[in-house]
């Protein structure tokens, strides 16, 4: 699934001169990503790992034609950086930053409504199309190109899952970490259609966890629209209940955010639940080893 990023994607890094921005720019360049610019206000004219730095996103885009941004700007300034990137007309933002206030993300979501920009994150490891492009902090070596689309709310658990798939001989079309925060730029349901439409993706792997209703909403979409097999692991069956959000939150979202509820919703939608986090690669490999046609689903047939 090279719809989000591919070998031709020209990306800039916001916050390139910071410790994380600088370090990961180098790693992305090593992976082969076309990082064509960096943005740090006040540091225009300098270079980081050979990448030219600009004072603003607009100047960077004018000079380099970048269409995507990987955002490493610290949380207090991320709202501003994201809106700057949206205004400059970028089509993809991958926000690595952790700690962005929820109401900032609420405002951003309202601001981008009706615009074509896609925001992944925040608090996410990024997006990788193996052998083509990596926008984020996930280690490159765990990936290999193949037929599995990976969508995850986690960071290192995603790496573990991807590594297991790679070792099981199942490469990935694209891996997307959607982020761990309460309010995200893109939900599972925004990205699952891309899996479904992508000719290279044969199956999907969803990594979920407690909190919110991402998985329940995904289940609704999968049931109604997906023909490709989907596998899911949901972390946090053991999480103590009192750690969840307030009761009002549960009413508003219609779900209490427990792992079991998510697992039940996904199961009811025909998703294969992976029981152990150590069995992600094995389960998918075994299932796909059987006749693929057996696993084809008709929408709403469950």
């Amino acid at each position: 699934m090279s719809i989000l990023v591919n070998k031709d994607t020209r990306a800039l890094v916001q916050g390139i001169t910071g410790e994380a921005g600088s370090f990961h720019t180098q790693k992305m360049l090593e992976y082969g990503t076309k990082i064509v610019a960096g943005v740090t206000p006040g540091r225009g004219g300098t270079r980081v790992h050979g990448v030219p730095v600009f004072d603003s996103v607009r100047k960077a885009v004018e000079a380099t034609g970048a269409t995507a941004s990987c955002v490493f700007v610290p949380a207090p300034f991320a709202f501003d950086a994201i809106l700057e990137a949206v205004e400059a007309g970028l089509s993809l933002l991958v926000v690595i930053t952790e700690g962005i206030p929820t109401l900032d993300m609420v405002r951003i979501r309202r601001k981008i409504q009706g615009t074509p920009v896609r925001i992944i994150g925040p608090n996410c490891p990024g997006v990788t199309t193996p052998d083509e492009c990596k926008l984020g902090i996930m280690p490159g070596y765990i990936h290999r190109r193949g037929p599995i689309g990976v969508l995850s709310r986690s960071g290192t658990l995603t790496y573990d899952a991807v590594w297991q798939l790679t070792q099981a001989g199942l490469g990935q079309s694209t891996c997307i970490g959607i982020g761990g925060d309460a309010v995200l730029g893109s939900s599972f349901v925004d990205l699952l259609p891309l899996f479904q439409e992508d000719p290279e993706t044969e199956a999907g792997v969803l990594i979920g966890e407690i909190g919110g209703t991402e998985e329940e909403e995904a289940a609704r979409f999968i049931r109604a629209h997906m023909t490709k097999p989907v596998f899911a692991f949901v972390a946090g069956r053991l999480a103590p209940k009192e750690k969840r959000m307030g009761h009002a939150g549960a009413i508003v979202s219609g779900g209490r955010g427990t792992a079991l509820e998510k697992i039940e919703a996904l199961k009811a939608a025909g998703v294969t639940i992976i029981e152990s986090p150590a069995a992600i690669g094995k389960t998918v490999a075994a299932a796909l080893g059987r006749s693929a046609s057996v696993l084809r689903r008709n929408p709403s047939s469950v």
């Binding site: 946090g236 999480a239 009002a248």
Partner: protein, 395 residues
Amino acid sequence: MKLHEYQAKRIFATFGIPVPRGIVAASPKHAKLAYTKLKTLCRARTRFSCNVKAQIHAGGRGKAGGVLVASSAKEAQTCATRLLGTRLVTHQTSPSGLPVHRVLLDERVAVTQELYMAITVDRFCAVPVVLASQRGGVDIETVAQEAPRAIVQDTIDPFVGLMPFQARRLAEALGLSGDLATTSSELFLAMWRCFLSSDAQLVEINPLVETSDGRLLALDAKVVLDDNGLVRHPELARLRDKSQEHPLEFRASRIGVSYVGLDGTIGCLVNGAGLAMATNDIIKLYDGQPANFLDVGGGANIEQVTGAFKILLADQRVSAILVNIFGGIMRCDWIAQGLLNATKGLSVTAPIVVRLAGTNVQEARQLLANTTLPMTMANDLADAAQQVVKFAKRT
């Protein structure tokens, strides 16, 4: 971040939200003085009764005996003695309850009806939502299940804010008219201002009461703040009550790692929240009981790993330890060094099972090869979980 009832009420008061008159006390002596002060404040001449409410970060206090009534200064002192210094167990706490370090003495009022109002964020739709119901004073989730139409919801545009016309509509939904409708409209607007300006995750009044003398009053107040928003509100961040958290949780947060105490005996150290939860899950799959969730973070350094490991070693219940690290940016040899640093000079008896994968895993194995620590390297996560469960059962 949760706040106590008395803190929430103070914040509400600054936004003009009417709350019962009350004074917080941290000792029985202060409770006695607070009673007298409160009696004067309320201009009561003869008999005066007040509530004495345990302040903990959980609901269900009334049913658990955490809300008492005092009709004299002496009684207030006795009530405070009964509550302060104890651990209150409610249906919203763990079996070991939460410590009571403060009590709130507040005036009792005659109530005509109990209502409900709250503002929170619908995370999936990414929009603030205001809730109102005529069914106050009960568990709102039960109301949602049994009588969903009894809860009225409306969305709030984050840039425009809650509009007066919306507030009027919500007042109508509360079944209020005349002056009370006007007052409650203002209340909704004040709640929104409070929510917005404090970067709250939840503001809730349950019950919002109509008193017999025709006023509206927030009899109970709940405020939960967005952790990510605290950096913008240092004065609110200072309201944190660490006594309501697991003692090791606070120690962990000081070094920038995330810790949640659980009930078992297998200590866990993992990088990444999802992976840490999954690690707890797989231990349970093999019939073990995790003692904690511990996330050193995807990008932790040697010092954080050392500090995190020391926290596990400080936990008396821990009889075996599982270290599960997927090194992406974090290098496995740093983890190994962190383990060695943390245990230097200590006599560690708890067996440690280590599963490392990713960057520099070979270097890590070399570092740990000659340790005298009771350490086993696992081949994969399933193997690691099975081993640590076996060790824990033996001890």
